[in-house]
């Protein structure tokens, strides 16, 4: 400041005072601070502080001084005022105000946040300057007595016109020469920056003062400054929005203290706080833009009893920052009556509901109701206990700050409440336009049907042709109006016809879709697609929709009508979720994150007569609460059917019922199939026990199968209480691959595992886990046979009618793949029923198709296997532990055996093998497919771990559980690690490379690849000149 001031003083020598003022004002403004937001009240200084300020505010508009005329006037007025410092100050404030609104429209919103500013510093210099000036002195003399004259016009008849005119001339001259001296709008960033306060400028101090007396204090300080020119403060600022503090600009804290001493509103004890330089400009910048608050606009209350309530502005008093609003009163008349009668009023915590005030009711309670006429509006009010009511509404005046003005979205209900039934909501243009204020961009689109709601062409309908910002061009629907008309967006509202299919795009019901049933002006009644309920919305909140969907159908991964698992016990269909408690449907609002997973399986259940019910079958509920309902089954889970009955309106028409209480209605296509399957089952069982036992089935396994082949299914497929629980397992694929943990729970195909390494429980797919080496047999057993025997379950385990479902459909091909090659030949006679079953059930076919000779790569089956007890046992029995016929594919295993091992291993199996012949038949086939599972030491392999990463490794040792100890690197000189069989892939030898035959009669033989003939390799066996032709798949490249 001082630096500036000096410059100014120099300037002032040349220019007259007016110029100086402008300078000052400009500078003030450019410093980023609105030093003064009030001012301009010339000639009213004798008034009290409060009125003085308000008057200034009201005269703000006058403080326009762009044209010469004004300058002249100002000059004349101001010149005299210079003599009296207070008037000078005011004037300056006024100029500042004027400047603001002229030059910097964006900043200069006419003051909701007011700043009372008194700038003292220039005074001394100015007064000195004035004294030196002849003209100034004269003017002063002449005008002393004239100061209180309120109107500038009266100054025109001043007696020393000439003097004034001289000044004016000089002024004009000055402005001619440098017309844009300070009005240059293109102030560069750098210049702006230079204006920011620096360390050399006076500091800003924040001083605590009595609450509510900020302005007064500022004015007191001003007065004090006038009285005692030796005060060293520069300015005082009282911010409207800051209670309890004023700002004083001064060089030193001592100066501030000096100035504050003795003022009763300033607490002597409080030390002035220095405002950091960086924040100085913030103190005086006005951030929030004022919103023009007009009558009839909608606002919300921020505080108090009516907090959040919608209100309508009735009157605005911008000078006092007050707004009179119309509210639906929340008055407890009884309490009021008691209070008026002088009873003890207990403070109640509840807020009375909004209700229209009724004079009659009040009178009944003996509350005195006065009728009073408002002076200004001429309206009559019922006055009760100081509260004014009109037409049932409460009229109350609030401070502008206690209401929320922006972004008010009155809901339809609120508006409906607000408008008494007699009012027509649609006629209320103001309320409509208030609604439109919140329109999103691009509200209107080409082709939208619209109706004009304002102006001469009101009620004209048309369709939108073009939208340009706020202007919408519409093509009227009147045949005689061929040309498009342009309207302001605000004058238009969307229009719909009954029967239109629409989507709600804003408001509470956002996202819902439905058909327009009724159109009442701008209010639509919509029949929701999903709930079949009526929704009332504004036409403006709706768009026409061609989507054939039913509103929001997705949240994240979940779609409407998906069957989801909530926790172990409950599952439901998303409608707003219907929980699956049979016969007793519960509606629960579930957040997406509470949904555990989607159940996405095709399953079936059995009805009370053991008919298989699958989805889309039509069933009738014959028992329970929903008795008599009938409809197609949409979902099945754990024996509970979710039936869709379109006549049933609750829960979007979904009924859930236990399958046992339902009856399959004939006609569903797949119902036959279900039955057929049912009958076919015995033969299936026949297969499974016959065919599977024989080939390589090992004693423990075979016996197990015999004792209860389907047991496996029960265990693994069913609830989680099978042998797996509490077992230590390892996760072998998926995101948690490599983790070890303990099984907590088995749910269907999912297993919840408590990780050893992390304190958490994760859910993984069943096939993603493998037992650690220490596992006991049963686990494996459960898994394997279940895959094999799925079809058996439905008939065999009545207790768990839907065990199968828990098996991934992915499991099926395995079963087929294993079974069929033989059965299709050997056992066709046994399965006539099965053929029937295929009718219309392509899934069966699809699956059986899957195993056509070419198909079954053994790889898919590898996953679940490794680490099995029985494999070890078998290996031992075979007396060939090193040969590691590791059963990473249990299927393959029985096929492979070198004869000796086979004989040794399956003494008990043998009697059961009528299919022995089939074994031979199979072994080449399957053996050929099972690549890489008969690893031998020194064979080069590719290890794939954790996704795509593949590295070479050399097998060091084959562990009995099927995994291998391998060393990384082409030469096996890298790290050693244990890899499961399915992480390994044998590297096939190329021509002239050393190899080892890994399977067949020549297993273990090393040799060299001489050539390749199709899928066969020509191998020269090491140590001899023999040439052998061997399938390439059983050749593994040797590392060295």
């Amino acid at each position: 400041m001082p630096r500036r001031r000096h410059e100014e003083e120099e300037v002032e020598e040349e220019y007259d005072m007016e110029e100086e003022e402008e300078e000052e004002a400009e500078e003030e403004e450019e410093r980023g601070g609105k030093r003064s937001r009030r001012g301009g009240g010339r000639g009213k200084r004798s008034r009290g502080v409060q009125s003085y300020i308000d008057d200034m505010a009201s005269e703000d508009d006058d403080a326009d001084d762009d044209d010469d005329e004004d300058y002249r006037g100002d000059g004349r007025r101001r010149a005299p005022k210079k003599m009296k410092p207070p008037s000078y100050i005011d004037d300056m404030a006024g100029v500042v105000e004027g400047e603001d609104s002229d030059d910097d429209g964006s900043d200069a919103e006419p003051a909701n946040n007011c700043v009372t500013a008194v700038t003292c510093a220039p005074l001394r210099s100015i007064s000195g300057f004035i004294d030196d000036t002849d003209a100034g002195a004269e003017i002063r003399d002449n005008n002393v007595g004239r100061r209180p004259i309120p109107h500038s016009s009266s100054m025109m008849d001043d007696d020393d016109d000439e003097e004034v005119e001289e000044i004016v001339r000089r002024l004009q001259k000055k402005y001619e020469t440098e017309p844009h001296f300070d009005y240059d709008e293109e102030v560069t960033e750098v210049e702006q920056q230079a204006l920011l306060p620096s360390v050399k400028d006076p500091k800003l101090w924040m001083v605590k003062c009595a609450i509510g007396h900020e302005r007064e204090t500022a004015v007191c300080l001003m007065q004090k400054f006038i009285d005692r020119p030796d005060l060293q403060i520069k300015s005082v600022v009282a911010l409207e929005h800051l209670k309890n503090f004023i700002y004083i600009e001064a060089e030193k804290e001592a100066h501030v203290k000096e100035a504050c001493r003795g003022l009763r509103n300033i607490f002597a004890s409080a030390r002035p706080t220095l405002v950091p330089i960086r924040e100085m400009s913030d103190v005086l910048s006005v951030k929030s833009k004022s919103v023009d608050l007009s009558m009839d606009s909608w606002v919300r209350m921020k505080l108090g009893l009516y907090k959040g309530d919608l209100a309508k502005v009735v009157a605005v008093d911008s000078a006092h920052q007050k707004v009179t609003v119309k509210l639906i009163p929340r008055i407890d008349l009884q309490a009021l009556a008691n209070k008026l009668e002088g009873h003890e009023v207990t403070k109640k915590s509840f807020i009375p509901p909004p209700r229209f005030f009724s004079v009659d009711e009040a009178r009944e309670l003996h509350i005195r109701v006065e009728s009073k006429r408002d002076r200004e509006s001429g309206e009559y009010f019922d006055v009760v206990n100081g509260l004014q009511f009109n037409d049932g509404f409460l009229h109350k005046t609030f401070s502008i700050r206690s209401i929320r003005i922006q972004n008010i979205k009155p809901s339809f209900d609120e508006l409906e409440k607000f408008n008494k039934p007699s009012d027509d909501l649609n006629e209320d243009v103001a309320s409509l336009s208030a609604l439109f204020a919140n329109r999103k961009k691009g509200h209107f689109m080409k082709g939208d049907a619209v109706i004009v709601i304002k102006g001469d062409l009101k009620n004209l309908k048309g369709s939108v042709e073009k939208v340009e910002d706020d202007t919408v061009h519409i093509q009227p629907k009147q045949p005689r109006l061929p040309r498009t008309l342009a309207f302001s967006e605000k004058d238009l509202c969307k229009y719909f016809n009954p029967g239109d299919h629409v989507k709600i795009i804003s408001g509470v019901q956002e996202g819902a879709m439905g058909m327009v049933v009724k159109v009442e002006g701008h209010v639509l009644t919509i029949l929701s697609d999903t709930t079949k309920e009526h929704i009332r919305v504004f036409a403006d909140h709706v768009v026409e929709s061609s989507e054939a969907t039913t509103g929001i159908t997705r949240i994240g991964d979940y779609e409407l009508h998906d069957l989801v698992l909530l926790n172990n016990l409950s599952f439901g269909i998303i409608i707003r979720v219907l929980k699956g408690v049979p016969g007793k449907p519960e509606l629960a609002l579930v957040k997406p994150r509470e949904i555990k997973s989607k159940i996405d399986r095709r399953t079936s259940a059995k009805d009370r007569y053991n008919n298989i019910v699958s989805t889309k079958d039509i069933v009738r509920v014959v028992e329970g609460a929903c008795k008599g309902k009938q409809g197609p089954v949409e979902r099945i889970h754990r024996g509970i059917l979710f039936i869709y009955d379109r006549h049933y309106l609750e829960h979007s028409g979904f009924i859930c019922a236990n399958a046992q209480t339902c009856l399959l209605v004939g006609g569903g296509t797949s119902s036959h199939c279900g039955n057929a399957m049912h009958t076919a089952n015995p033969s299936f069982r026949a297969f499974s026990s016959r065919i599977f036992q024989p080939p390589g089935r090992l004693p423990p396994r075979g016996s197990h199968m015999n004792s209860g082949g389907r047991f496996g299914g029960t265990g693994s497929g069913g609830r989680g209480h099978d042998a797996m629980v509490n077992r230590c397992i390892k996760i072998i694929s998926g995101p948690y691959k490599g983790y070890r943990g303990r099984v907590k729970e088995v749910t269907g195909a999912l297993v919840r595992i408590e990780l050893d390494s992390q304190m958490k429980i994760v859910t993984v797919k069943r096939q993603d886990i493998s037992d650690t080496a220490a596992v006991a047999t049963p686990f494996r057993e459960t898994r394997y046979p279940s895959g094999v025997e799925i079809p058996v379950h439905p008939s065999q385990t009545p207790l768990h009618p839907i065990q199968t479902p828990t098996w991934d459909s992915g499991a099926t091909p395995i079963r087929d793949g294993m079974r069929t090659p033989m059965p299709s030949r050997a056992w066709v006679p046994m399965s006539p029923a099965r053929d029937n079953g295929e009718d219309g059930d392509p899934s069966v076919w699809a699956s059986s198709a899957a195993y056509q000779p070419g198909t079954p790569r053994s790889r898919p089956y590898e996953a679940p296997t490794p680490g099995s007890g029985w494999a070890t046992g078998w290996g031992d029995a075979a007396g060939n532990p090193t040969s590691t016929n590791v059963p990473s594919t249990p299927i393959g295993q029985p096929m492979t055996p070198g004869p000796p091992s086979y004989l040794a291993g399956t003494p008990s199996g043998q009697p059961m093998t009528p299919g022995d012949a089939g074994l031979d038949l199979l072994s080449p086939l399957i053996g050929g497919e099972t690549e890489g599972n008969w690893l031998l030491p020194d064979v080069l392999v590719n290890v794939s771990r954790g996704g795509d990463e593949v590295s070479h490794a050399v097998v060091k040792e084959v562990l009995p559980d099927g995994s291998c100890r391998v060393s990384l690197g082409l030469l096996g000189d890298g790290d050693e690690l244990i890899a499961t069989a399915n992480e390994l892939e044998v590297v096939r030898p190329k021509k002239n490379e050393k190899l080892r035959i890994m399977n067949g009669a020549m297993r273990g033989v090393t040799g060299k690849l001489i050539g390749i003939d199709g899928s066969d390799g020509i191998v020269r066996v090491e140590g001899s000149l023999d040439m052998k032709i061997v399938d390439m798949v059983i050749l593994g490249k040797l590392a060295f």
């Binding site: 009954p498 029967g499 239109d500 299919h501 058909m515 327009v516 049933v517 009724k518 009644t525 029949l527 697609d529 079949k532 309920e533 009526h534 054939a548 969907t549 039913t550 379109r646 006549h647 309106l649 296509t669 053929d835 295929e838 009718d839 219309g840 392509p842 076919w845 699809a846 198709a849 056509q852």
Partner: protein, 177 residues
């Protein structure tokens, strides 16, 4: 509205049906598959009246199924906006009533029921005129006008009105009692 149109469909037939009755099988399967279904475009397939042409079958690799392109004539029913239909009331509630015209479900909102008819709750919810002369309840037959249709892939849903001349109840089961 009903239409008699020709549609085409690829039918998959299991190899076991190959034989002298292949065509019969094909037709019976077609009927089973198609009748009663709804497509958004054509509406409900009410009945198959004849098979125009069975194209050359194509054997599916792997499954052995054979795909035949079949052209068939059928009667379809598709409701249109503005169409007048006769329907049977299936349910009445305070929001209006549901009626069925064959496979199509139609909802008539209470806004689209003449103002002089009021909802009477009770054992048999119904809409009755003030003088009691006309009553809409379950099983009533009404003539209505469709004012809006929503066509899903598998369902057609309509809303209708009876708030117009010559619309309303045409036979009332309650009247007979």
């Amino acid at each position: 509205m009903f239409f008699h149109i020709v549609l085409e469909r690829n039918m998959q037939l299991h190899p076991r049906h190959f034989g002298p009755h292949l065509r019969d099988k094909l037709v019976s399967k077609l009927i089973k598959d198609v009748e009663g279904t709804c497509s958004g475009r054509h509406g409900f397939v009410v009945a198959i009246t004849g098979v125009e042409d069975v194209g050359k079958g194509l054997i599916r690799e792997g499954t052995g199924f054979v795909t035949f392109p079949v052209k068939y004539q059928c009667v379809v029913f598709r409701p249109f906006k503005g169409e007048i239909l006769e329907a049977v009331v299936t349910m009445v509630n305070k929001m209006g009533f549901f009626a069925e015209a064959g496979p199509v479900q139609i909802f008539v909102s209470n806004h689209l029921i003449p103002d002089d008819m009021e909802f009477q709750s009770g054992d048999v919810p119904n809409y009755t005129t003030s003088d009691g002369s006309v009553k809409i309840q379950k099983e009533s037959e009404v003539r209505l006008k469709i004012i809006g249709t929503r066509v899903d892939a598998t369902e057609i849903f309509c809303i209708g009105t009876i708030k117009d001349d010559f619309l309303g109840v045409i036979s009332d089961p309650g009247a007979a009692v």
